[in-house]
């Protein structure tokens, strides 16, 4: 069984799960490693490249964790979007609160 789910139904994807949490963790770590790593590339090239590469690994982990879920959320939501936009227009014109 994979650590993170690859298949989601629309209802399941709407829930907040451990995949969302880990995507945020990997995303934050990737920012730290990419920012510090790239700066160090110009000062201590070997360390800089190594730290940058760790950052790239975190980017990949983030993508692998969250992308299947995001795809499902997006495809499901886009079906409903037209109707929601009509409601937004009604609220704008004070036809609905």
């Amino acid at each position: 069984m994979p650590l993170f789910r690859k298949q989601w139904t629309a209802h399941e994807a709407d829930e907040w799960t451990k995949e969302d949490f880990w995507a945020c963790v990997f995303s934050s770590l990737s920012y730290v490693f990419l920012m510090i790593g790239l700066a160090l590339c110009f000062l201590f090239p070997l360390w800089g490249i190594l730290i940058t590469l760790i950052g790239v690994v975190f980017v990949w982990l983030m993508y692998a964790t969250i992308d299947p879920k995001l795809r499902q959320i997006s495809s499901d939501y886009e079906i409903k979007q037209k109707e929601y936009l009509k409601n937004l227009d009604k609220i704008m014109k004070w036809e609905e609160q």
């Binding site: 829930e15 990737s30 000062l43 959320i73 014109k93 609160q97």
Partner: protein
């Protein structure tokens, strides 16, 4: 004074013509509807809003600010820019929630999240505040451009402020957000190349990596290479307590909406993305570029320090990156460098002009004055509002002659301190209502000025470091808006259920979720957190 050769002028003029022309090219798309003028029809692939996030947050004042903190604190100063990391969390939390709401602006979102009179008051307040803030941001960014032009060409500061913002207004007025986002894409490329070339050149001039490290060691300044060099837990001008506070604000802030000033810019880009997934990746990728850009600047400023140690005046060392470009690049490349500066400047000005106009058009004119206005009229009101924001920025810019960094720090985090937690609570807690949120804003406006300026001047309160001001303002605000929330009625259940079903927010929404399930609007799922 910088002297331009023929090639320098050619680079610059060619660039400005191409950029304005490419923006104006989208005139036909921009004028189609309000949605096109402000959100590019909600149909952009992730990389276009991402390049706009990056280009917008690369402003003329940003290298001034980064030069200041890196020259002062060494590589550890790079953490000052890590506030942008709120997007690491936001990309997968608040971005997703906000994109599903479909609100054009954060002000509009208030009326979707909250109900009744309180929500309308919030919408009007946030719209007015954003118009004011965008004029102010344009003012300080414009003054930074004035400062650069004064340094490079000896022009009076108002010339740089007025000239380049006016050029930018041509394509913003013509094509709205379509012009902004297309120009941002090409400006983003020019800006990244400009920063890369100047920064690599600066490092090379300072002797390369080995030269910089060796010279710093000889000078007894090796601590400048340590990204975690703090002056103590609570002591000195760069304490670890500041670092911890910054991480807390930045990362947890990503759960909320409006926890930083940048949110309001990002909110527009989120809604312009063609899907929830595109919105998430645009915010993540745009900010990744912002942070890696800061790394290039940091290395370059350390090189500048090695060549020019001991500059005591903030106004002088804040210009470090610009000095590297103007003084070290070979003739013929200086024009390219200045073109990159123009790109840096215009990408920010364009976004902020269009954003200010969005709040004026959508949230004030259309919602409160003419709800049945035609699309054609709304586009024209958008253009008129753009012009007003531009003129307002000249006024504010002329009032900010000095202390750009001080203004920035005050605006970025002190002004946001008292509403930081309410900005999170409004996303994660169903019971937090419009009156609680409104009271937090009113309280913060008074408290932030009191804690930062008035009480220390009167001798009532010591001059606290900025991270301590943040915690104090957060605590003082809590005492006001939590009682207000519990003493007033919750928002209407129908309204909350509709918001919940559409946006599926994170956090403490149990009663609303159960009600939505009871009404058969959503299905209960057994797995999940």
């Amino acid at each position: 004074m910088v002297v331009f050769t023929f090639w320098d002028w050619l680079w610059l003029i060619l660039y400005i013509v191409v950029m304005v022309f490419s923006g104006v090219l989208f005139y036909t798309l921009g004028k189609r509807s309000e949605s096109d003028f402000f959100l590019a029809g909600r149909g952009l692939p992730w990389w276009l809003p991402a390049s706009s996030v990056y280009a917008t947050h690369t402003a003329t004042d940003t290298p001034i600010w980064m030069s200041g903190v890196i020259y002062q604190h060494g590589l550890a100063g790079i953490w000052y820019s890590f506030f942008a990391a709120w997007c690491a969390v936001s990309a997968y939390v608040s971005t997703r929630i906000f994109r599903r709401s479909l609100a054009y602006s954060q002000a509009e979102w208030q009326t979707l999240r909250f109900s009744g009179l309180g929500s309308e008051l919030l919408r009007g307040w946030l719209a007015g505040w954003q118009i004011y803030m965008n004029m102010m941001i344009l003012g300080w960014v414009g003054m930074a451009m004035g400062k650069v032009c004064h340094y490079a060409f000896g022009w009076q500061e108002w010339v740089g402020l007025v000239l380049f913002s006016s050029i930018c207004a041509i394509y913003v007025l013509a094509a709205g957000y379509w012009g902004v986002v297309i120009a941002d894409f090409q400006q983003g490329i020019v800006v990244f190349l400009g920063i890369l070339i100047v920064s690599v050149w600066g490092v090379y001039e300072a002797g390369g990596p080995a030269g910089i490290v060796g010279r710093l060691s000889e000078m007894g300044q090796s601590w400048r290479l340590n990204p975690f060099h703090f002056t103590g837990w609570f002591t000195g001008d760069f304490p670890a307590a500041w670092f911890v506070t910054m991480l807390f604000i930045a990362l947890l802030g990503g759960i909320g909406m409006g926890t930083t000033l940048d949110w309001y810019v990002e909110a527009q880009r989120i809604q312009s993305a063609r899907s929830v997934r595109d919105a998430s990746y645009s915010i993540w990728a745009g900010t990744a570029l912002v942070l890696t850009r800061n790394s290039l600047w940091a290395a370059c400023i350390l090189g500048f320090f090695v060549l020019n140690p001991g500059i005591a005046n903030l106004d002088d060392y804040e210009m470090a990156w610009f000095r590297v470009g103007f003084e070290m690049l070979p003739p013929g490349m200086v024009g390219f460098f200045f073109a990159a500066i123009v790109a840096i400047h215009l990408s920010t000005v364009a976004s902020i002009l269009n954003l200010g106009a969005l709040y004026a058009t959508r949230d004030l004119y259309q919602h409160y004055i003419n709800p049945h206005a035609s699309e054609r009229r709304l586009v024209w009101v958008g253009r008129f509002s753009t012009l007003l924001v531009l003129l307002g920025s000249f006024l504010y810019g002329s009032m900010m002659q000095k202390n750009i960094t001080e203004w920035l720090i005050f605006a970025i985090w002190i002004m946001a301190a008292g509403v930081w937690l309410p900005n999170v609570l409004q996303v994660i807690w169903w019971r937090f209502n419009s009156w609680g949120y409104l009271s937090s804003w009113i309280a913060n406006l008074g408290l932030s000025w009191l804690v930062v300026w008035i009480l220390p001047k009167a001798g009532v309160l010591p001059q606290l470091p900025d991270y301590a001001q943040f915690w104090l303002l957060m605590a003082l605000g809590l005492v006001i808006y939590v009682p207000v929330t519990f003493l007033t009625r919750p928002d209407e259940m129908d309204h909350l259920v509709r918001y919940y079903v559409q946006s599926r927010p994170l956090g403490f929404w149990g009663p609303i979720k159960r009600e939505a399930e009871r009404r058969g609007l959503i299905r209960a799922v057994t797995e999940g957190v």
